[in-house]
């Protein structure tokens, strides 16, 4: 099994990691779930509602509001430029 690389300090288990804010552009999303599946912190879930095209875009899961480490993986992997994060 391959290593997908996330940007993490080597000692990320002990050191405080940056906290990220997730931004979403729902209308751009085509519901591929890449961001949801591959978020290292499993921060994202499908929205209950759909966008006008009928896709479930990503939202931050309940209880995970503090879990985004701003690794920006979702920003890179999203094929639709529909999600990104910023350091808080």
């Amino acid at each position: 099994m391959t290593m997908i690389e996330y940007r993490q300090p080597l000692d990320h288990e002990t050191v405080k990691v940056p906290i990220g804010q997730v931004f979403v552009i729902p209308e751009r999303c085509k519901g591929c779930s890449f961001c949801i599946e591959f978020c290292p912190q499993q921060v994202l879930v499908e929205s209950p509602s759909i966008n006008t095209k009928g896709y479930h875009f990503p939202v931050v899961a309940q209880g995970k509001e503090q879990d985004c480490v701003n690794c920006a993986f979702c920003k890179l992997v999203c094929p639709e430029f529909a999600i990104y994060t910023e350091e808080l």
């Binding site: 085509k30 006008t52 095209k53 009928g54």
Partner: protein, 178 residues
């Protein structure tokens, strides 16, 4: 008698297959002339998609649908685009659950094709439910012709499922709002 038919929805719903079965039924088993055209092009990928047919008792020259008489919408997007055809006098049929904005409209025919297909155990059969409904409502092709077309078109192991879905659609048509 010539009728122009438009079946619209999105990629993956089997719209083109439904159009093909309808055309085949008319042209090979229904004693009619039929021509099927469809949207092509990269812009159509995964997005809106339509099958268009002319079904006629006379040979068909110009093959494109210009003013459809019968329109089936299996997505909100399709309805947004083709709902206006009704203004030109077209008869509209929609999958109730997929076209929320048409909910409750009296001037068109509703069927919960996808829902019924799910009940049948295969969401992918919604196209055949819709086709049965369409045929039942419009009478454009005979039921037997449609069944024959299904039998000769789909993979053998899915014939039964598809015929069942067709049935369900026809049954719905009996009670459908006109």
């Amino acid at each position: 008698m010539k009728q122009e038919v438009r079946l619209a929805g999105f990629g993956g719903q089997g719209i083109i297959l439904a159009g093909y079965v309808l055309g085949r039924a008319a042209a090979l088993y229904g004693g009619k002339e039929a021509v099927l055209t469809q949207s092509y092009g990269p812009e159509a990928r995964g997005g809106a998609c339509a099958a268009e047919l002319i079904i006629s008792d006379e040979p068909i020259d110009y093959p494109l649908v210009t003013r459809p008489d019968l329109v089936v919408c299996m997505s909100q997007e399709a309805f947004n685009r083709y709902g206006v055809d009704a203004a030109d006098g077209a008869k509209l049929m929609v999958d109730t659950d997929l076209v929320p904005s048409a909910a409750g409209s009296e001037w068109l025919s509703h069927v919960r094709a996808t829902h019924l297909a799910e009940e049948l155990g295969n969401r992918m059969s919604a196209n055949m439910v819709m086709l049965g409904f369409f045929a039942g409502v419009t009478g454009v092709v005979a039921r037997q012709a449609l069944e024959e077309a299904v039998r000769n078109t789909v993979k053998p192991r899915t014939v039964e499922l598809n015929l069942k879905a067709l049935d369900i659609g026809f049954e719905e048509a009996t009670g459908a709002k006109r």
